[in-house]
């Protein structure tokens, strides 16, 4: 007797079919959208590999682009100057942006803290993160190309990239430095260490893995940027190690090749794109591996 009664009484709690349907539909839609989000990634990787790998060869990496656009593929050259140029320009940009960015971050966390001056600095740096990257190139162009009457140069491109990297490096470093426990600082000071030694010997080493991660990500980002380089380093074909001259770079090389009517040149663009993405991915992977070793966050 009681079994049917219990089930009857329980039946009023049953979930209506329409609720069940809505639940299933919503969950399916969400899963579908997630898969859709991954499709571009798959397609991009696939196409990069398919079209880019076929361009890869020893001569691809060891010859400069020749600037020929109408002849056979064998005479259009490779991307050597672009790769070297990217490495040089980004290296210089990092050498400028990293010490300055970390320095400002250290100041913000250790000295400036919440003072109105520090808040102002923080605010302006935040504002800088939102600037479209092409404007950095324009600024350097106005100040250093037009302003000085001189021409494009690799180091000017580096300066534009450094401006782009600066807020990213500063912000990331500041966040990590703030995570260093105050107790650690205090115990160092309590042992009689002067402030500078406490920062250099205790705070920075603890924050190092996290900061390296942030820095590597900033470098990866800068390596992929085209717009700031268009009117600063511009582009050239020949490899040169003089940052005072025009300098080629992978993003600019790709950008210039994209509009070419010659298939061979476009294929070179794919090869260059694959190279660039590979370099960025390597930096990302290293950054992630290092962040795992961080004792903070």
């Amino acid at each position: 007797m009681s079994a049917p009664a219990a089930e009857q009484r329980f039946a009023r709690f049953a979930v209506s079919p329409s609720r069940r349907r809505r639940d299933r539909f919503a969950r399916t839609a969400i899963l579908a959208a997630t898969l859709i989000a991954l499709i571009p990634l798959v397609l991009i990787v696939y196409y990069l590999l398919r079209k880019g790998l076929s361009s890869w060869s020893t001569s691809f990496f060891t010859t400069d682009p020749t600037g020929n656009t109408f002849f056979k593929s064998s005479s259009i050259g490779g991307i050597k100057s672009a790769i070297l140029g990217t490495i040089e320009i980004v290296a210089l940009a990092s050498a400028i942006a990293i010490p300055i960015g970390v320095g400002v971050a250290v100041w913000l966390v250790e000295y400036g803290r919440e003072s109105w001056f520090a808040q102002t600095v923080r605010f302006f740096i935040d504002v800088l993160t939102g600037v479209p990257s092409i404007l950095f190139g324009l600024f350097i162009y106005i100040v250093l190309v037009v302003g000085t009457g001189s021409s494009y140069a690799g180091y000017k491109g580096s300066l534009a990239l450094a401006l782009l990297m600066l807020p990213v490096v500063t912000r990331a470093s500041e966040v990590i430095l703030q995570l260093v426990p105050g107790a650690l600082r205090e115990s160092a000071l309590a042992l009689g260490a002067p402030r500078w030694r406490m920062i250099l010997r205790v705070v920075l080493p603890t924050a190092l893995p996290g900061m390296v991660t942030g820095v590597l990500l900033a470098v990866a980002r800068a390596a992929g940027e085209t717009a700031p380089l268009l009117f600063t380093a511009a582009a050239t074909l020949k490899t040169n190690f003089d940052l005072g001259q025009f300098m080629n770079s992978l993003p600019v090389q790709i950008y210039n090749d994209v509009t070419s009517p010659t298939t061979a040149v476009v294929n070179r663009a794919w090869g260059a794109a694959l190279t660039l993405v590979a370099m960025i991915l390597v930096l990302n992977v290293i950054a992630r591996l290092i962040s795992r070793r961080s004792r903070l966050a």
């Binding site: 007797m1 009681s2 079994a3 009664a5 219990a6 089930e7 009484r9 329980f10 009023r12 709690f13 049953a14 979930v15 209506s16 329409s18 609720r19």
Partner: protein
Amino acid sequence: MRSPRPQSSVTDVEPERRSEIDEQGGEAGDPAAGMQSSAAVATTQQAAPDAEPGLAVRLEQLRAFYGDAEQVKGIDLEFRANQVTAIIGPSGCGKSTMIRCINRMHEEIPGAHAEGRVLLDDLDVYAPSVDVVAVRRAIGMVFQKPNPFPTMSIYNNVAAGLRLSSGRRGDLRSKVESALRSAGLWDEVSGRLDEPGAGLSGGQQQRLCIARSLAVDPEVILMDEPCSALDPIATLKIEELIAELKKRVTIVIVTHNMQQAARVADRTAFMLDGRVVEVGPTQEIFTNPGDPRTEEYVTGKFG
């Protein structure tokens, strides 16, 4: 609120219950238990005519696991209909885990699962044919920390559960009012139903959560240390509420406060290390426990 069923169905159910009770008379090894339950039955008869009595819950060999770790190690326990059963025990003994198995919240934790049977009257809520969502509606839960939905008004908080089920929404307003009245909150909030639920005091928030659970008209309400975050006055209000509510629903309350158990519970079970050591009428457990471990706990020797 369901329309009141004719008195006859109450008496229909009764004979079964009485025989169950007679069986259980031997459970705690105490003839007084049987008498206590008859008194409970009598109370049921005198319950408000429009309140349906709740259902009994019985655990059979309930085990609960977190991954491979067994936290609840085989429990047979009964929660009598329209009674308040308290679960006491030291922290870590598995009382919260056990109670969460009753409304199948335990399995929401990744890697956690439960074995055994949990019978709502005669229906095993762990049976494959049973919808877990329906179980949770039938067995409500009030949590340790009051958790009204912060983005919703008082009204919408109470209505939240009701709105989930489609149809028969016409009397939403009256259901909300009745739930708030049953939770003893109506007089305090009737003028400000549109205010955010999170703006109430701790005790009011907890009563709001009780109203929210009551609104869907469950058979059982589980309370996991409902007063531990509240001040004594709010606690008292809720304990008074429990005494009223048991006329409508079966209540299981986990508490670390033994005085509270003594105040509100008809029966009390003492748990230790994942097992039920002893269960019986509250008075017995506190004044004349059968097991030495129970005695040690209730006299404060540990826990």
